[in-house]
Symmetry: C3
Subunit: 422 residues, 3 copies
């Protein structure tokens, strides 16, 4: 799947995005949303669709170089069409490279300032001979085109919703961005396999920023009413400790759920407060929405030299890490799924556990004691106001163990769920 998605010429808009969503749609059902160019979405206008046909340079020795067909990072994103002959010096004003990372082709876009340019490694740039270069940038801006978004829903018993949001607007890069759509897709498949779901799960494949704004223009009011929590899936492919960036609210259900999952997991991780740059969490958290959406990454990719270059490739990410990320995302979804407010129906005095066959009997002594304590914590704190994350935090037990205790108590008829809509 990675290898099929890798070479597609993704951008903010265009055929590359559609081909990407076609591939994704083989793995999960997707509903396409085409937002016409020129549509006003809050403060933004959807740009004309970018048509890439071909782009390359012929060097003074007649060799075809910087061919976008070879590496789609070579062409500056949203380059305007151009054909002409330029001297080495004039061409140079349209070149982008990174002196500090001389082997990397940088990723450059110019969505709103019409120009053209090529990206290449510093090594290649330094070796370009003097002479006349022929430039071909065969692109177009199609005002009748559109921006392509897709979403899918896994319905649950309630209309309370969880959102996983990722983006498909970067060309051939692995951690930023293919790791996001891959984790999102396989998370879908895990959750789809559950026998039942209390919550509804929504998965969105957007263009970063403009796409997320356009998506909010359509779904924002719905989210205000139904969203329990959401995560932006980006930069999740490194074999590095999970890094959770809180929602702007900071103590919403998604923040509490993610932090509980990371605590329970025990391994190294980091949690940071919201800051207003990064990925689409800043759209979801903008003051007009302030939705409970955080961003769960692996490591701090933005500070790495590989960030936004050709070095962010298949070798850079770890498929084992990707798989682990899916499990962590799944655990967060399960924490939200099970984050119910329970009410002990035998609330006055301790329930006589033996009467309900709830005294754990079988198993190693340590496990029996643990089960008994989980039951007691749950029944003791289940006053209809505390949710399961509260009880997990206070007891030091895990969401899963408490959920098992809750199921036993519900089966015994001594525990009730408080129905809640957001």
């Amino acid at each position: 799947m990675f290898d099929r998605l890798w070479p597609l010429d993704r951008s903010l808009t265009g055929e590359g995005v559609r081909k990407t969503h076609d591939v994704l749609a083989e793995y999960l059902p997707l509903e396409r949303i085409e937002v016409p160019a020129g549509t006003q979405v809050f403060d933004w206008t959807v740009p004309p669709e970018w048509v890439q046909r071909e782009a390359y340079v012929i060097d003074p020795e007649g060799r075809r170089i910087l061919d976008v067909a070879e590496n789609n990072l070579h062409l500056v994103g949203y380059s305007a069409p151009f054909r002409g002959e330029l001297s080495r010096a004039d061409l140079d004003e349209h070149l982008h490279s990174l002196p500090d990372v001389p082997d990397a082709i940088p990723y450059v876009t110019s969505y709103y300032h019409h120009t053209w340019g090529f990206c290449l490694s510093q090594v290649q740039r330094d070796a370009l001979p003097e002479g006349t270069y022929q430039v071909v940038v065969d692109t177009a801006f199609d005002s009748d085109g559109s921006m392509t978004l897709s979403e899918t829903i896994l319905p649950g018993e309630t209309s309370n919703e969880v959102l996983i949001s990722t983006y498909t607007c970067h060309p051939s890069m692995a951690n930023n961005e293919l790791s996001g759509p891959l984790v999102t897709t396989f998370l879908y498949r895990r959750l789809a396999a559950l026998p039942n779901r209390r919550l509804t799960y929504r998965f969105a494949f957007l263009a970063e920023t403009a796409g997320a704004v356009a998506y909010l223009a359509q779904r924002g009011e719905h989210f205000k009413q139904h969203l329990v929590g959401g995560l932006v899936a980006t930069c999740v492919g490194m074999d590095a400790p999970p890094l959770y960036k809180r929602s702007v609210g900071g103590e919403t259900a998604i923040d509490r759920a993610t932090e509980q999952v990371l605590r329970e997991r025990g391994a190294e991780h980091k949690v940071v407060d919201f800051y207003p740059w990064g990925s689409d969490e800043r759209q979801y958290c903008s003051p007009g929405f302030e939705l409970p959406v955080g961003c769960l990454m692996r490591g701090n990719f933005f500070k790495r030299p590989e960030y936004h270059t050709s070095l962010d490739n298949k070798d850079f990410i770890s498929f084992a890490a990707l798989s682990e990320t899916i499990s962590i995302y799944e655990a967060v979804c399960m924490a939200l799924e099970h984050n119910i407010k329970y009410r002990n129906l035998v609330a006055c005095g301790e329930p006589q556990l033996a009467k309900y066959g709830l005294y754990p009997q079988v198993g190693a002594r340590r496990q029996v004691e643990q089960e008994r304590q989980d039951l007691m914590w749950l029944l003791s704190l289940a006053n209809g106001k505390r949710d399961l994350i509260d009880i997990a935090g206070r007891s030091g037990s895990s969401m899963e163990r408490l959920r098992e205790a809750a199921e036993k108590c519900q089966a015994a008829g001594i525990l009730d769920e408080i129905e809640e809509t957001i």
Copy 2:
């Protein structure tokens, strides 16, 4: 008093409990509450009263061993009647000992699973010869009997109440349990000796768990309306630092009062959050009540090898520690007694202390300065919303010094009490 209570054959119910309450009633007035066997109390049913007549074993050599008349821990609590001859091996299935604490007779009960058994030291068990044993367990379950609880009230000026709850259902053990009734009894006598009391004090001698549940069935609604705070007195006889277990609310008046007293005392102590096992605080704190009741112990007895064995005897506890515990409990009661919300009647600008003769004049300079500061803290913070524990915490002064300052200000007519009912 300890020596008279020690040998009585206490259990969840029965004559041993009544005899215990008879002895206690010589030290403080007690009102008996007999809850008939079979009474439904919330999730529990009061069990039939257990009648102990005699219980012993005749060993193959004709010696009478494991005689309950010698040590009432020998018989498993609530043992069903049995008479018969058993081989060493068959008898062994009814024996309980502790390999890790080989000299201790363990304390074992089987309230709700009808069986019989004997407890003995591992040393004695290992020495039991092969042969035939004659077993006599002359007990009975009296469905017309009852569970015995007692309480007494020290009335105060208001109906706001403080509860001290302890239990009398364990046979011959010192720290758990005689320390509790002893502290409760002598605390009663100290508080009874006060010339006046603002609060009403209630003292309850219960059976742990079932007795507390039955007691709440009678007093729970009253407590919801009147209880300012309560303490469960258990395991208070060790010469170990005070250990306070908070109420489930965690920041109620009893929590704040106890922590203030322990802070003022200065010596080592520990405060832990509520957890749903331990003693009767879990009944008072159950979600149907969530009463402000904590548990003030000395040390963590539950982790000691002496816990629930014959080694928890008179040598194990310290009568000096018991006496000190009474003082600490008394200080907590006084902290609640004096935890009034005051209103400075000269609230606009600083009162002119000299005008009211309130400028401290006599005494060492340090003491005069301290008195002046106490007056200023009190008058400065007494806005009718802060209580005296708040003011003590913020000022770093003590409840007693602030109370003295309050009395002077009230005498001078510049400080008022806010009347409050719970």
Copy 3:
């Protein structure tokens, strides 16, 4: 200005105060408030005005000593009139000196206990010969006099007010007290020079305690309705780290503003909770008012040997420190001035900064990045509920940088102010 104010014979009342206010009135417009002797102000009665004519002692050798004309600390404040001959021993009962600071003349008053006395250095006292002393204390208490207060207002666009309160009742002392009126006067001049002010600023020159109480009797209700925050300016002349004593509320706007300013300044400083002694903050914070008024000092002067002695003189203070204090006070006023709740008008999704010409373009890269981040923090958090101090605290940016960002956004029409009255 310092040299003109230094020799004036200030006290709680009297001509020395009026002369002081006359000098001050040359630097800022002052409105005089004369509170008649005998006026009841809350718990206090304005004392009769103290008239000082002359006071000295003739020693046994005929030398005039302890002459108030030479150092106005020589006479105990509010000394009652006296003329007579006394032995060395009888005179000694009316003398005050400091054995531990033998070169210092102490500052002593006796406002409410009618007596007379002289203050002198321990060195001078030890050298007084035996013999007969002639004492002249030519003072009077004028029941038709008054207590002199002054205030001035710098009007702003709103009636929300900031108060700077200082006092003019101590004779020749520099840090306590001339530093206060000096800082207050020159702060007035700085704020008066501003092209416009959102807030109204009020400056009060009072007598400590009784004057502040009398002032509150006139302005207290107004302050309850209009005061955003206030500072008591006292002991601000030492070259020592700023020491901020919080208002009794502890988290009011003045507390948050002052702490933000001290944090931004970066240099060493200390913040302490309110305590009910010190200067006039205790009148403003008395329970009948609980106004948001703190006290911003330099160092802890009260613990120094120079405190309330002749050693608190021009050499003791630093005019550079005074000037720096004025800047800190000004910064606190500006923090309040700019502490607006903003509302992002492009609240749904991120505003497209480029569209409004808000993408910083010019300047060093670091500065451009900083400006961009300030804009993003502001727009991202400006939900109409957070004020600028909140946003500064959360972003780690400065009030000034965020204010600049706000001005740009307001100019671009994408940011609105929430109008608020206290």
